[in-house]
Assembly symmetry: C2
Homo-oligomer: 221 residues x 2
């Protein structure tokens, strides 16, 4: 039995970031693909509270919630550190990682599935969020610290990859390189990083998957 198992789905930015963390640490793991429309008894056993992926199983013990898992991975397998060592830099990294997950992901997801007045409000909210990201990246290639890609950038995977595909399917232009050149350059750098590139779902496959969801939502209305 593998010591480390990850319950996830190939199309989830949350399980993809755990895979990147495990690979950066050199931890071997078994990936268990979940069918979210028919969750496995094991997933429900290991995450009875939220019933969600990702779940990391380490020596039979489950860890849930993607940020909790990332911290656990960094504390359990020490080298190389995936979060900054300095407490202040670490706090700053956690702040921006939370900003991606708690502010950007919900607004950028919802704007693509909403209509009318609600969508207009969400467009404005997303624009404000992108302006903040744009200003943080002024003079910086990455979300820092330092000149190299780090875990904050990895936790920005939804913004850097998924959102581009989603907004195209939804016919939106909330993010464009012209409006947000710093964010645009960051996205290019993100895609130039080999460990990230190798751990993103293929664009065709992800587009087809999301398109099917758009069609299912349209058909249900």
């Amino acid at each position: 039995m593998a010591e480390v198992k990850l319950f996830g789905t190939w199309f989830s930015p949350f399980s993809r970031r755990i895979e990147i963390a495990l690979k950066l640490k050199g931890v071997e793991y078994e990936f268990i693909e979940e069918d979210l429309s028919n969750k496995s008894p094991l997933l429900l056993k290991y995450n009875p509270v939220h019933k969600k992926i990702p779940v990391l199983l380490h020596n039979g013990k489950p860890i849930c919630e993607s940020f909790v898992i990332l911290e656990y991975i960094d504390e359990t397998w020490e080298c190389p550190s995936i979060w900054p060592r300095d407490p202040y830099e670490r706090a700053t990294a956690r702040f921006w990682a939370k900003f991606f997950d708690e502010k950007c992901v919900p607004a950028m997801w919802k704007v693509c599935w909403s209509k009318g007045e609600e969508q207009e409000k969400l467009k404005e909210e997303c624009t404000q969020l992108l302006k903040i990201l744009e200003s943080v990246l002024s003079g910086n290639k990455f979300f820092g610290p330092g000149e190299n890609i780090g875990m904050v950038d990895v936790t920005g995977n939804f913004v850097a990859y998924w959102f581009g595909i989603l907004q195209e399917l939804a016919g939106l232009h909330v993010f464009t390189k012209e409006k947000f050149p710093n964010v645009g350059e960051w996205i290019d750098e993100f895609h130039n990083c080999s460990i990230i590139k190798e751990n993103l779902p293929p664009k065709d496959k992800l587009t087809a998957h999301l398109q099917a969801r758009f069609q299912a939502v349209a058909a249900s209305k």
Copy 2:
């Protein structure tokens, strides 16, 4: 100038928990009371993204977001540790602290300010959350690990104190000791802990403050 300053408000469970953490660590600090209806230029300077309390200022550098601050405090002033040392216990503690903040606080806050059908839905949601807390506390005095009160319990301060006052003002009986005896015992233990008792806003003052908010909302409708 004090090395450590905390921008907060006396009635906020989020700034109160930072005060408890600082006191557990024996860190001296200056508390700066913010008027949330007229935020100070310093607060807006130090937390330009969220414009919210609490903000910890350490040697002139700001740290925002209550969980980020709690982690920073634990990493900067090492003894005594306020989160468990063992990575798995620490992950479990983070999981429940997040559960309090991301699930319990929003639902238990909103249920007290909503009406009609929306309130009925929120009552059901709060009941489900309390059932989860009830089952976690089965056989345990605290949210653990171990037999002593810890930071998870401290992050449950809204549930253990604020919610009781709010639901009384709203005329609700979502939580009762009869329905949730384990949670009831945990709340009693919470109030028996001297460092917590000394760092809660006085009940009369908090009740009057919240009552004024209820009246203001009613008058604006």
